[in-house]
Subunit: 331 residues, 2 copies
DNA sequence: TTGTATGCGTTATCAT
DNA sequence: ATGATAACGCATACAA
């Protein structure tokens, strides 16, 4: 049995109140008893039971993170940054890898409630608005609208889509395709598509929109991308994420299509990892660290003042373009 | 305020005991009251407070995961698998990204204790034996010896080191270098080095052991690898992880050293992600899914019977070789 | 400066 | 078949 307050009290020869006072540094206590208590705690390797503490009305300092998959480098880096910020603020993280599983996300949501988390940062979005509305807990969403009450942090997806087209155009591409996940209504990532469409229009080019399912197995994805490359006349492709872009590069290589001479490609996300291990890929870089920081800041504000009306519904962070070889100008 | 048992009881017009009975499916209750109670719960969106529950002696069904960095694809895949297994067993995961920070790992360990986790799976190892011994909680370690009392799950690192050398040798390499993290005493990963050394000896070749710090920044790592390639006569390199191997490939490319003609390279880990996005890299594949499953199984056993003496101290899972172009035979 | 008693939300024992 | 109540480990109002 783990030692409890009474055990420490007994060992130190004082009352539980005194021990509690020492632990929480509250009220008046003599240095002598303080020392005695610390010695007893040390000897027993005592750790206050934070469950009992929270039951008493104290907050748990627990934050739930709901994301689709940490094996995706983008989410891995984002989650890691979030975890770091939260840790430095005294919060601990319960990680919920919801995948694209509605039921699992629901389960996790219930679990987080049951564990009295102080708040939730949601990056997976399989559930509907009302389910999130019922939670009744501070929530901040990454990159997706969950409800009218839940603030969203994301990068400037529209600017990203626009920038990608501009860069491809400037590099000489005139048949610019869009390749991404099937889009869902009302999500900020749709803005990437909107940016693409609008910008094409200003150039007087026509749009070509193709989708590959995010959840599809990568080898299937590779297969459909190859078919796309064979059947199309694309000389530029805007991908909605880096992994898809890498598959395009791979497909092009297998088909002996030269990048960037015959085909220029941009990714989206710009994780440190892919920047480093795929230095050939141009991409729209999301400010992952800033996003993480902002998510945490906004959540903290909601936790502190849950009833306060939202100052701001959406926070959009700027993107940048990372010029690499896959979009080099070929003369 | 979140609804509590009394609220549900009041709404359903029964006592708290009855509600508790319904929730836990315990004792006798008429279908009629059962329905009433469920209706009330539904209406209030009631979630039992698992803190109060655990306070009463129930287990939290919480498992702590301590790992160095989920941005490393290997850990990302391992953690994701572990999380999946645990979830399907009814456990939730507290993720502790300890980095290589001793203090953070210590903090996390205390936090997990305070949150009454049922057990811990430890994959980061900055702390000493005694700190883990004091925990007094079911722990299973991945790939590292933490104490006499803590079971270890790992792949067969020795076989991995051996296999790598064999494959390089068979592909024609005769100056086979070892490139990895600086090794620490008594850890299973040292076995990779041992396997390398022993196997070289059977071939009558001499050993060349080089280290690059794991925590070093990748661009620094790349730099020192380039220097190594320039100064050495290596025609084969055994890397202790895939990311290092990728840096070697990159360095070779920049130095116009042809792989596999002039230099053959093997990685270690074999994550799905790197297999897919770096199809040129030969590697020793760890059975990640099996490792995850075994970690969870062993932990479950410890949780069920914490006092039972360990049946087995070490569990070694077999590795396989994935033959790709970086070790192709060049005639 | 220190100790006693009560309550947090839930489960379990005992009664009805 | 259902209800009253003690206990879980801790924090705090109140008392000493």
């Amino acid at each position: 049995m783990r030692p409890k307050l009474t055990d420490v009290a007994k060992k130190a020869g004082v009352s539980v109140t005194t021990v509690s006072r020492v632990i929480n540094d509250y009220g008046y206590i003599s240095q002598k008893t303080r020392d005695k208590v610390f010695a007893a705690m040390e000897e027993l390797n005592y750790q206050p039971n934070s469950l009992a503490r929270s039951l008493h009305g104290k907050s748990t300092n627990l934050v739930g993170l709901i994301f689709p998959a940490i094996t995706n480098p983008f989410f891995a880096e984002l989650v890691e940054k979030i975890e770091q910020k939260l840790f430095s603020e005294g919060y601990k993280v319960i990680l919920c890898n919801a995948g694209s599983d509605k039921e699992k996300e629901r389960e996790y949501l219930k679990m987080l409630l049951a564990n009295q988390v102080d708040g939730i940062i949601a990056g997976a979005h399989n559930l509907g608005i009302d389910e999130y509305n019922r939670v009744g807990l501070p929530i901040v969403s990454f990159d997706r609208k969950l409800s009218e009450q839940i603030p969203i942090v994301s990068c400037d997806n529209y600017a990203g889509g626009k920038l990608a087209v501009q860069e491809l155009y400037n590099a000489g591409a005139r048949h610019i395709y869009f390749l991404g996940n099937p889009h869902q209504q009302g999500n900020p990532t749709d803005q990437r598509l909107a940016g693409y469409c609008d910008t094409l229009e200003t150039y007087g080019l026509s749009r070509h929109i193709h989708t590959v399912s995010f959840s599809e197995s990568p080898s299937l994805k590779l297969f459909s991308i190859k078919r796309l490359l064979q059947e199309s006349v694309a000389d530029g492709i805007v991908c909605t994420d880096d992994l898809t872009a890498l598959l395009v590069l791979q497909a092009a290589k297998e088909l002996a299509i030269k990048v960037p001479e015959q085909l220029k490609v941009t990714g989206f996300d710009g994780t440190t990892q892919i920047q480093l291990y795929h230095p050939e890929l141009s991409t729209i870089v999301q400010p992952i660290s800033d996003i993480a920081e902002l998510l945490v800041e906004v959540l903290k504000a909601r936790i502190k003042q849950p009833t306060e009306p939202l100052k701001q519904m959406q926070y959009k962070l700027p993107v940048t373009f990372l010029q690499r070889n896959s979009t080099s100008r070929s003369n």
